[in-house]
Amino acid sequence: MNYDPPTPAERVLARHRWIRCFVVLVVLALAIYYLFFVNQYVIAYRNDVDHFKYGSIGSEPNLGLPILVFKALPVLYQDRLGPTGYRRFGMLYDNDKSDLPIGMSRRYVGGVERVWFNCAICHVGTYRLALTDKPTFIYGAPANNLRLYELLKFFLTISADPKFNADNLVAAIDSPTVGGDLNFVQRFIYRRFVFPAVQQGLLELSRQFSFMAKADTPGYGPYFDWGPGRVDTFNPYKAIQFNFPMDARHIGETALNGSSDFPSIWEQHPRDGMHLHWDGNNTSVDERNLSAALGAGVTPVTVDIASIKRVRAWIWDLPPPPFPAPIGTDRDTVAEINRGRALFADYCAGCHGMKDASGQYDYDTARYPHLGQVESWDRIGTDRGRLDSYTPNFAAAQNMLYAGYPWRFTHFRKTDGYASQPLDGIWARSPYLHNGSVPTLRDLLEPAGNRPAKWYRGSDILDIDKVGYRSDGYGSAPGDLFVYDTAVPGNSNRGHEGKDYGTELPAADKDAIVEYMKTL
């Protein structure tokens, strides 16, 4: 017999207590689920430049690696990457103590801090005037050092590597270099959940990029390393976003090798409305920005619009960097610059604009009718790879992206040539032409036959006479630089030549034009 039974009210309350506990637990569970597994957390930066360098644009939920895994991989694969880790791929660090390279952002997703690319990965360059100089960062410049192809290949190949297993990964995370210092619970989580998820993600990415690895597979066209400072913008895009078939029956060798240089991203305000991208397939800076973000790993679902808008605001009127070496002020040099200015006005400004009398770059498309317009391939004649890699079908598919959002793509169009761009800060945009096939401005003023056919790419030592990064291998160990062969599909240095392009001018006139272009 129960000598202390509950009262009727207590009986009901006891029942309610379970309900209340259940409700509280459910609410708590939902809150925890939301706070840890749904809500995402990013680091907010006060400074626009820091936001550009390290702020998340939303690429991590899709492709991001847990930060400890990202840091552990160079330890685990020191045999392949060497002592400098990700620096081998041209990734830049603010200093030796920097936690992450520039262009890698953090975001807490699903309770794990993940890292992946942001805009800065492809748009921070460096230069040195002398071999012993410390590299100077140029924010908004093409990432002339970045070997994105090699970096991706590294991530893709380790997914199936037997060495990439949970034991080795946890050991690398716990190594002094990474300092993960995982406790047994964390080790369990990394072994049972994080590692399998990462491996699965890399395998999936590997599947999507399989066309890159099938260069020697029957039925697939040859596919070539992009080299430093370049990216195949649209073929991975086709494969990842739209599952386009990438075998030889569906894509030819030319279209398959459409790598091009990273562009500079300063002074976007005057560029809005011009034909953007190398082939001019879009006239909206905002769409171009969002599209480029997709290339960094963002998806229409994960995109952080506010973050991208902040970057947009910063680059909207970001000035180009001035030429870093002194420009002569002696009478002869001034005279040469003046002569160069006149020649530039005659030969170049119609398509590229130039500085006006006040020293400001004039982007006026009324004055320069070809500026920001697509120049037909028949006339420009540069390598077709990049042009052919962009197809009407692909444009149609792109225009379906972000459907249902106000920022849905509507501007993408197939063109028949390459767009003329303003040449502001052109010294920092070496090598030249859309595919970066010509190392210096002076070389570009030569007919294709006189341009370097095989040269070293990846240096950041500036040749201040010919204007462009050195291509002779100076200061680098053999093998550190990438041999750029213009005979490889997509790498041709032809085009942009002939009487109208100044390549038939006397050498002194070409020198004068280059001297003037230092001032742009």
Partner: protein
Amino acid sequence: MARSTDETFLHEDNAGLIFSPLKFRHLEVKNRLFRSNLAGMFDEYNGYGGHTRLNWEEKFAKGGVGCIISSYTPVAVRGRILIRYAMIDNDDKIPFWREVGKRVHSYDCRFLMQLSHSGRQQDMGGVENQFKKARSSTNQKDFFHGILAQAMTPAEIHEIVEQFAQGARRAREAGLDGVELHGANGYLITQFLSSGINDRTDDYGGAVENRARFALEIVRAIRREVGPDFHLQMKINGVDHNDWLYPWKKKGNTLEDTLAICKMLLDDGKGVDAFHVSSGSTFPHPRNPPGDIPIKPLVRWYGGMLASGVRTRFNFAIFNNPIGGRLFQWLWRFRRGKVIEGINAAYAKYLRDEITKLDPSIKFLCTGGFQHAANIAGAIRDGSCDGVSIARPLIANNDLPQILRTANGPTKQKECTYCNKCLVNDLANPLGCYEVSRYDGDTFDEKWENLIKSVMSVFDPPLFR
């Protein structure tokens, strides 16, 4: 508060009307002032009346009211609302009530016993009821405090009808002057009468005739026990306002429902002699006792009810929350409306007009904040009622009838403020006026000392001296 501005009548006219006798069919009262049913936890735990109750009732008789309606008097322990209230559940209670009658009659004051049953509105059932659900017309719990209820079977209904009848018999044997059925303010009889509460599907639920069956059976059983010449009156809600707290609740009885019930309870002249009109299907209710709800005392003293219901903790959390408390107080005032004094007069007038057409011998009392002669006389003069019942203003001024003989009401400082601190303190403390501002003194301490003296005066004289 509504104040009479009708200066057509001199105070002498008003006093003349108020202090004229009121003749019921079988009872005559010396004036029109009734002490409304007003209790305090003054008695023995088991329901025996206590010495303090005698002092309490005597205060008002001495103060000059014509008739006292007893405190809520349970006809059975299961019908208790609060512990330490004298009951009428057994013949062994008759001697106490005989003594009460004797004391009160010595001041030429009549005494009516209010026969009551809490039903589910059992705020503190006591240990006797600790493991029992409250009896009611319904299985639905009380929506305010969440007091659990159990719908009675017909046999249980008949048992309670009989308990009321025996209660009336005992009141008559005790020499009291009549009985009142507490059919208002949410207690058991209301739980049958109200369309907002009664959800039965048998002969005691549904149409108003069925809902009134329980009350009519009680009236007939009482008449069977006490005969036709013992005063019997019914306290009833003019309108239930059952949705005061939760707007999605049914509104309950309308004035027309109440009129139909009153007509039935006349029982062709064999039923009740008078009606006592109130309103509000719960107790307390913003309309009864009409006034404010004092949040601080509520937080201090509501704790005694925590074990009683399944919503008491929720209520306490609301009262104890700075925002919740204020919102509750705002709701309380909003639901009450602007009129306090004479809040039920219009309901009483409608019912009186209709009922007296059928039987002019039926009298009406009206309750609701009366403390000014002009308002009381006005209500009687315009046909709202034949007399008024007063509770809190009489706690504030036990001698209110004497004041009203010579003045329209108490001085401003001595008026009842309708703060309802008396109501809330009753859950833990001796019933009395707890409004500090009303007391003499220059400092709070002085005023508080006088307040305590006033409240404790009910224990004087002591039983043993």
